[in-house]
Structure formats: structure tokens, C-alpha cells
């Protein structure tokens, strides 16, 4: 089920990406020299709390950061493969594209479905016109052919095509709009799809529906999915790999089963025990002490050390790098990853 990383080439290689926001008090270090591979047709979840930098990574990939943000360093190598024989067709650095090339890259190579899908559509244009706009911008199908393609997609996301096609956004419910947006995201058959908190504002049943749609789509269409959320359970259900983000860095990265069974970073462990589930016993739930760091004036060494029960003197002094732990595919940025689980989750096997 999980694609093997070794023989699965990457769609996007992010290297040493650093993004800062300009604020009055100083530079907000939103993303700090991140390295990340996004493999072909895998689902990668970026999890972390608000302000951890996960959304900034997403926006950085499609270069839609607000004007106060600056990409300081890094490269993002995007690889496009032939859809039938998976041969590498093209390879380029997203950060080096000019405005026109960037416009073509967006949505065609990488579509991003945003957090607040409720307002993702222009309120004065019909859904069909917004599909038309997108298609025209990329020299894609028009007229009846476009309609046929859109109807297929609406079927995929379990919407009534007849009703949706001729509607204005305000005539659709939140869950429907979210699914229309997913359908629109798939219009150009992009090799990569980024979903930023795609179900946050939605009801549980609608959320379930969208999760099911997403799982189905992924099995059918095999695109790379980057899934940004603060909700561990969504990641558990949808992702192949999980990257935990804290204070602008990836602190743990690994296969979803491995991460949930053998978490290596105290922050991941903290998150897991901070969110009660239907089955956990009350006594196994505990919050992480302290509060997320100030991204302008960050602590020294490991940024998690003020909240970490395992912190030692070294953690205050030196920031650990993201290194392999139990296997080459399970990485963590913690000096004490070996003891973490044993100390923090003593009553879990």
C-alpha cells in the first residue's frame, strides 16, 4: 500500500528552504532550512500547531506567500514524469521560474486547495465560468469537452453535476464547495495536490465524506498529495508519511505506521497524547506544558527544549539535526530520540 521510497522517485525535492516574514519587531522565522522529498503518488502529511510554519511551506511551494514574506535560501526541484510510462520528462527549480512560467506551474503541475474553501470561489461567477477560467488560463479544453470533463470530476467527488455546473458558489453548501474545489484542483490532472486544512471548518459527517472522496481519488489518480493539518487523526487516515513541524522545522519524518507506533520526537509524542480520542482512557491524555515559541525571538538550541520533559543541557545549547533513527526512513531531530518513547509513553507497548 505504501509506495517504497527507494524505487519511488520524487516529484518535488525541497532543499534548505528558508522563509521569513517581515514584522515590526523583527524577522519571523517561519520556515528554517527545511529539506523534504515528496515522492511520486505518495500522501505526505505535514502536522503541527498554528504558527508552526506548515502552511508557509505549502504556500512557498506554489510561491503564493504574502508580500511580507521572503524566501531567503533554498531550491525546490520539481520533476514531471510521463503519465503512462513514468519516464522523467522535465526537471526544474520552482524558485527559478519567471512570472509567466510560474503561472503555468500553478494548478497544472501543482494545485493547492486552501483552508477556507468556503470563500475560495468568486461569488459573482458561476461554477462553470470559474472552471472555464482555469481551463483557458492553461490552454485546456473548452466548451462541451470541458463540461464533459468537469461532469466526470463531479461524479468522482460525488456531486450532482447538473446542479453544480450552473450554480453560483453561494447556492452550494460548505461541503459541496469544498468538493467542487477538489474537483477543480483535479481539472488539469496535476501530478501534485496540496490540501491545507481541507476539512477544518466542516461538520464531522461532511468531513468524513470528503476524506472518503480523497482516499478514493488517490487510489484512482495516483497524484502526490501534501496534506497540511493540525489533526493527527486525519493524517493517520490519509497519509503514507508524516512530517511533524515545530517552530519552522521538520522535527520528525517517517512512515505513518511507524510514526504512530514508535514516535521518536517528544513533540510528536506530546501531540499524540494531547488529543483525546474516542478510545483513549482519560488518564493517558496530557497536554504539552508551556506554549509554542515566539518565532521572532526563539529559544536557543532545540526550539522545543523549554517545553520538553527530556531536555538536558545539550538541548539548550545545540539544535539537533534531522537524522535517521531506527531506520533510514524514520528521521527525528532530537538528541534523546532513543529514550523518548520509553520515557513519555511508558504504558504503551
Amino acid at each position: 500500500m505504501t509506495p517504497k521510497n527507494q524505487n519511488n522517485p520524487s516529484t518535488l525535492s525541497i532543499r534548505n528552504l528558508t522563509i521569513e516574514y517581515q514584522a515590526k519587531r523583527g524577522a519571523v522565522q517561519a520556515v528554517r532550512s527545511i529539506d523534504l522529498e515528496i515522492y511520486r503518488s505518495e500522501a505526505l502529511a505535514l502536522i503541527g500547531e498554528s504558527g508552526s510554519g506548515k502552511t508557509t511551506i505549502g504556500l512557498g511551494i506554489v510561491r503564493l506567500l504574502p508580500s511580507t514574506a521572503k524566501i531567503r535560501t533554498g531550491e525546490m526541484i520539481f520533476r514531471r514524469y510521463n503519465k503512462t510510462d513514468y519516464k522523467l520528462e522535465e526537471e526544474f527549480d520552482v524558485l527559478k521560474l519567471n512570472e509567466r512560467e510560474m503561472r503555468q506551474f500553478r494548478w497544472k503541475e501543482c494545485a493547492m486547495v486552501f483552508q477556507a474553501a468556503l470563500n475560495a470561489f468568486n461569488p459573482v461567477l458561476k461554477i462553470k465560468d470559474q472552471f472555464g477560467d482555469t481551463a483557458r488560463a492553461h490552454g485546456y479544453l473548452q466548451g462541451e469537452a470541458l463540461k464533459k470533463r468537469a461532469y466526470e470530476l463531479f461524479d468522482l467527488v460525488r456531486l450532482d453535476p447538473e446542479r453544480v455546473w450552473n450554480s453560483y458558489p453561494h447556492e452550494l453548501s460548505g461541503g459541496m464547495r469544498q468538493r467542487v474545489l477538489i474537483a477543480l484542483g483535479l481539472l488539469l490532472d496535476p501530478p501534485m495536490l496540496i490540501l491545507d486544512e481541507p476539512t477544518t471548518a466542516l461538520d464531522i459527517l461532511t468531513q468524513r465524506n470528503i476524506m472518503d472522496v480523497l482516499k478514493e481519488l488517490r487510489d484512482k489518480l495516483r497524484f502526490s498529495l501534501v496534506f497540511i493539518s493540525h489533526d493527527l487523526s486525519l493524517a493517520a487516515e490519509l497519509a503514507d508519511r508524516i512530517a511533524t513541524v515545530y517552530a519552522g522545522r521538520i522535527v520528525e519524518l517517517g512512515n505513518v505506521y511507524d510514526t504512530f507506533q514508535n514516535p521518536r520526537h517528544p513533540y510528536t509524542i506530546g501531540l499524540m497524547s494531547a488529543v483525546p480520542t474516542l478510545t483513549t482512557h482519560r488518564d493517558n491524555v496530557s497536554s504539552i506544558p508551556g506554549s509554542p515559541p515566539d518565532l521572532i525571538d526563539m529559544p536557543t538550541g532545540c526550539k522545543f527544549h523549554p517545553r520538553c520533559p527530556l531536555a538536558v543541557e545539550k538541548c539548550v545549547r545545540e539544535e539537533p539535526a534531522l537524522v535517521p533513527t531506527t531506520g533510514p526512513d524514520h528521521l527525528a531531530a532530537c538528541w534523546r530520540w532513543m529514550e523518548a518513547k520509553q520515557f513519555l509513553m511508558p504504558n504503551v507497548k
Binding site: 500553478r106 486552501f114 468568486n122 461569488p123 477560467d133 477543480l184
Partner: protein, 354 residues
């Protein structure tokens, strides 16, 4: 539920209809203005009718009784009847389109005729200027919003606010001074009147060129005094739309900038301005009085100031009424325009509220 609504009496259903309600509202406004204008002539303590009688005696050398009869016929009222009878007579005449006759400005000429003769000139000058300042203001406002915080934005917003703050009277004089007296760019007679002598209205090039030449300076005053308001309104509206999610999503979809600026940002940002447009028409028509006075532009504004100085009450009443109707018609057009631009208004009868 649906059967229930079917069994409701048709009269009730019509009264609940949105369009019918709107029309009633508009008729009500006209009625308020009509009553007001009646009260002004008949009900105010200054007793304008007595002044009118004195005026007639004075100018035409007739006896008081004759003057009273004359005034009554000009106003189409029986001055001796109880006030409410006069009021209903007045309303009755009005419904037949009879606003009485002018007695000073154009003796014996029906007021309707005089006002309608002047109205096209004002509508042309005010309308053209409004169109220009609205379009240019929207354009500059969007420009400033896109470049917000930049030097250009600073200059545009500060400058336009300041230009708009100078009263139109002053602008009119400043322009006459600068163009006609100091720089001598424009002959003063071109700034006076609405057409050069000898040019007849018609579909000739000569006429249109002259029309615009005479419009140029008063038109500039209208534009200068209103442009800033449009610009600032469009700027703030655009800034808020630019922060909306659908604009970011449109960029993520790789849409060309032009399409985003027009159909996504422009159309949504201009929505609140359409309502403001409706309100501004009422003010501009009023503002035309002083501008037309300065430029001797032959429109209703000038007629108004003449009627005021000459105390021609029927004409004053007529102008008040006709401008009210004009304003109401333009607001109705703006309402329609708004509905056409914003589908959420159009389908508000639906039950999609979540």
C-alpha cells in the same frame, strides 16, 4: 407550506412582492417631496404667496385682487379654499403633469416645459462627469490598492483627499482664474453658457464639439470634487477584496493577472460603489446649482438659482419635483445594476441559507 402560500389572497401576495414594495417606496418618496414643496409655498410662516402677489402687483402694475387671481391661476390653486382642498387640487394637477406656470422667468410658460427644456443640459454635464470620475476613480483606486504603501499610493490618496476637500465653488473660480485670466488658455466666453451663439442642437459634429468645449471646465469641476471620493472608496474596497480567499485561489489556479484584476477583484470591489453611486446622483444634481450659476450653464441648476433670486415659486417647485424623480429613477437603475452585478442579491428569494 407551499399549499398554504397558494391559498393566500392574491392581494397579499402582490403586496409582499419585492418589486412592488420598491415601487411603493419610491412613490412614497415622491409624495413626501411633493408635500414638502406644497408646504413650502403654502404653509411656511414667510407666506411666499403674499410675496408673490406683491411681486405681481409690482411688476405688472395690477391691483391686489387681480394679482391674487393671477397668482392663483399660475399656481393652479384656489387661494381662498381651505388648505386641504388646495393640497388635493395641487396633487390632482400634479398627476396630470401640470405644475403651473412661471410668472417671472418666462411669463406664462408652463413650468414642465421650462424644466424639461433645461434638464437634458444638466443631465448631460453631470452625467458625463459622473461617468468619468467614477471610471477614473475606480481605476486609480485599484491602482493605489494594488500598490498600497508605495509612493504612488501615498501621493494618490493624499492628493485626491485634498482636491476633494476644496469646495466646488472654489474650484470653479480657481479654474476660471487660471485658465481664463492668468494663463489665458481658454477664452472666457467658452466657459460661459452651454453652447456658443449660432450653434443649433442636432447631430452635427460642430454641435458636439461645441457641447464638449462648454462642458470642459464645469465638467472638470465636477470630476475634481468627486474623483477623490470614488478613488478612496474603491481603494478600501479593493484592499479588502484583495485579502479575500478567492483572489489567492485564483492566483493559485494560474489565472492571468488581467482576468484576476477585472473579473475577480474589480467586479467584487466595485459592488459597494454602485450603491454609493445612487446616493451621489442626488447630491450632484444639487451641486450643479452653484456650478451652473458660475458658468451661466443653461441647465436646471441655473434655472434654480434664477428662480430663487426672482422668487419664481412654481418654477422652484417644478425643479424640486423633477430632480426628485430623476434621482429616484437613477437610484432604481443603480439598484438594478447592483442586482445584475451581484448574484447573491438576485437569488435572495431562494432558501439556500445555511
Amino acid at each position: 407550506m407551499s399549499e398554504n402560500s397558494k391559498t393566500k389572497p392574491w392581494s397579499e401576495r402582490i403586496l409582499k412582492n419585492y418589486a412592488v414594495q420598491t415601487i411603493f417606496k419610491k412613490i412614497f418618496i415622491i409624495w413626501v417631496v411633493v408635500t414638502l414643496s406644497f408646504l413650502i409655498v403654502r404653509g411656511l410662516p414667510g407666506n411666499p404667496v403674499e410675496i408673490m402677489v406683491l411681486n405681481l402687483m409690482d411688476s405688472q402694475g395690477i391691483s391686489e385682487d387681480e394679482a391674487r387671481t393671477r397668482a392663483a391661476s399660475l399656481l393652479r390653486l384656489d387661494l381662498d379654499a381651505p388648505l386641504y382642498v388646495q393640497y388635493f387640487d395641487f396633487l390632482g394637477n400634479l398627476v396630470q403633469g401640470d405644475l403651473g406656470e412661471s410668472y417671472v422667468l418666462a411669463r406664462g410658460k408652463p413650468v414642465t416645459e421650462i424644466v424639461f427644456q433645461r434638464l437634458p443640459w444638466t443631465l448631460f454635464s453631470v452625467g458625463t462627469s459622473l461617468l468619468i470620475s467614477f471610471t477614473v476613480g475606480m481605476f486609480l483606486g485599484m491602482l493605489a490598492a494594488y500598490r498600497r504603501g508605495s509612493m504612488l499610493d501615498q501621493v494618490l490618496t493624499n492628493l485626491s483627499a485634498m482636491i476633494g476637500a476644496v469646495p466646488n465653488t472654489l474650484w470653479a473660480i480657481i479654474l476660471v482664474l487660471l485658465l481664463g485670466v492668468v494663463w489665458k488658455i481658454m477664452p472666457l466666453n467658452l466657459m460661459r453658457g452651454s453652447l456658443s451663439p449660432g450653434i443649433k442642437p442636432g447631430f452635427t459634429l460642430e454641435f458636439f464639439v461645441d457641447l464638449f468645449k462648454h462642458w470642459a471646465v464645469p465638467g472638470t469641476v465636477y470630476v475634481l470634487t468627486t474623483l477623490g471620493g470614488w478613488m478612496l472608496a474603491m481603494r478600501s474596497s479593493t484592499v479588502s477584496v484583495l485579502g479575500d480567499d478567492y483572489v489567492t485561489v485564483a492566483r493559485a489556479r494560474g489565472l492571468p493577472d488581467f482576468r484576476i484584476i477585472t473579473a475577480y477583484v474589480g467586479r467584487n470591489a466595485s459592488l459597494p460603489l454602485v450603491t454609493a453611486l445612487a446616493i451621489s446622483i442626488g447630491f450632484l444634481l444639487g451641486g450643479s446649482t452653484v456650478i451652473e450659476f458660475i458658468f451661466v450653464y443653461q441647465g436646471v441648476g441655473l434655472l434654480m438659482s434664477q428662480a430663487i433670486t426672482k422668487r419664481d415659486y412654481p418654477v422652484m417647485q417644478g425643479i424640486l419635483l423633477v430632480t426628485t424623480i430623476t434621482v429616484i429613477i437613477s437610484t432604481a437603475i443603480a439598484d438594478l445594476l447592483y442586482g445584475w452585478l451581484d448574484p447573491r442579491i438576485r437569488t435572495s428569494g431562494g432558501e439556500n441559507a445555511e
